[in-house]
């Protein structure tokens, strides 16, 4: 995982994402999910580029199924984009970097 991407857990999800005053991108993934592994570098590169402007984190659904259940995740990779603690957008499956950043840019 990239240096700029936060590992989200049951304990820090609220502080890092819900209470953040910046837009937050959350990637739900798992080790056994090929398309998630493929999307990983894209998410990491967004984390680096948007460092200081947006928060980027990943939830491992194996380790934290409760967060996945709370947001009714039924398919991974799933990207949720939060603003002020609320889900603004959800992207499912393989998506391009531009698709993700265009949403973050809109929320900045």
């Amino acid at each position: 995982m990239g240096d700029f991407t936060k590992t989200l857990t049951d304990d820090n999800f609220e502080i890092e994402i819900l209470n953040s005053d910046k837009p937050a991108l959350v990637d739900f993934w798992a080790e056994w999910c090929g398309p998630c592994i493929a999307l990983g570098p894209t998410v990491d590169s967004i984390a680096e580029e948007y460092d200081g402007k947006a928060v980027v984190g990943k939830v491992n659904v194996d380790h934290h199924p409760t967060i996945a259940a709370k947001y009714s995740i039924r398919s991974i990779p799933s990207l949720l984009i939060f603003s002020n603690g609320k889900v603004e957008e959800q992207l499912i499956g393989a998506v391009s970097k531009e698709e993700i950043t265009s949403i973050i840019d809109r929320l900045l």
Binding site: A30, W32, C33, G34, P35, C36, I37, A38, P41, T42, V61, D62, A68, S72, I73, R74, S75, I76, P77, S78, Q90, I92, G93, A94, V95, S96, K97, E98
Partner: protein, 310 residues
């Protein structure tokens, strides 16, 4: 800068073309697309790729192929090709918002899961409707799911899903399955699997926000009768379609959308454009045949580039 060869796609075909053209010092540029590593990245064990007696997972195998290509100097970009112009030389390829020029192109864009094409299906995609059992099966622990299809992929997905789901019903339009005998036996004997014969999905029921899919309306293909079946998930496994939209009207495709290649070669209807893998294969569609045809395309491209110089 004008490239010698651009490869579109990073499945077994594209990456094998990359290994060969890189070793021939053609400095290939590979656009990986939205599915880096291709279709095998959504499967678990690959047991029939030569050289792996213990089997290998799809993502691992594709990682190894990519490393092998990079080792010889292939450049790989995580970008999707948005447009090509192969009507004149040099060819032009647009990816990630930039324009690239190249003397030759290898098309290795493979295939994607075919969907039923209903509005209710696309609305609930990811909210109970899925085209990837290995990605999403995990979310259906002790849930009731349906699998649509009757070929080997559908039967394999059904068996795989029994690891999680409480029951799996196969929705099949005919009164017999198409898959191999061995898979049919496994399915028919499985205590968690049943088959809904002569049935097609008429509509997916549910809301994308909140509850997600709650069931489907099934139509009986014999009587036309509609019935409602409650379920938590539906996995679509009705085959694949070639990813050839980029090339419509620029290159010869067959009725199904496969790129046409000349017999015993990877040459397409446009000189300097080659095709390999599932995008041009209406018969075999295996990782090793895709890799084999990736090698053919690389050698054909190499010869073509040599002919330009002489």
């Amino acid at each position: 800068m004008e490239r010698k060869v651009i490869i579109i796609g990073s499945g077994p075909a594209g990456l094998t073309s990359a290994i060969y053209t890189a070793r021939a010092n053609l400095e290939p540029l590979v656009f990986e697309g939205l599915q880096p590593g291709g279709q095998l990245t959504i499967t678990t064990d690959v047991e029939n790729f030569p050289g792996f007696p213990e089997g290998v997972t799809g993502p691992e195998l594709m990682d190894l192929l990519r490393k092998q290509a990079q080792k010889f100097g292939a450049e790989t970009h995580f970008a999707n090709v948005e447009k090509v112009d192969i009507s004149q030389k040099p060819f032009k390829v647009w990816a990630g918002g930039e324009e690239y020029k190249t003397q030759s192109v290898i098309i290795a864009t493979g295939a994607s899961a075919r969907l039923l094409g209903m509005e209710s299906e696309s609305k609930l995609m990811g909210f109970g409707v899925s085209a990837c059992a290995t990605c999403d099966g995990f979310f259906y622990k002790d849930k009731k799911v349906l699998v649509v299809g009757g070929g080997d992929t559908a039967l394999e997905e059904a068996v795989y899903l029994t690891r999680f789901a409480s029951s799996v019903s196969i929705v099949h339009r005919r009164d017999e399955l198409r898959g191999s005998k061995i898979m049919q036996d496994r399915v028919m004997k499985h205590p968690k699997i049943d088959v809904l014969w002569n049935s097609v999905i008429d509509e997916f029921v549910g809301e994308s926000k909140g509850v997600g899919l709650t069931g489907v309306k099934l139509k009986n293909t014999k009587s036309g009768e509609i019935s409602t079946v409650e379920c938590d998930g539906v996995f679509i496994a009705i085959g694949h379609k070639p990813n050839s939209d980029l090339f419509t009207n620029q290159i010869k495709l067959d009725d199904m959308g496969y790129v046409k290649t000349q017999p015993d070669s990877s040459k397409t209807s446009v000189e300097g454009v080659f095709a390999s893998g599932d995008i041009q294969d209406t018969v075999y569609k295996q990782a090793v045949t895709a890799a084999g045809s990736g090698c053919m395309a690389a050698l054909d491209a190499e010869r073509y580039l040599e002919s330009l110089e002489s």
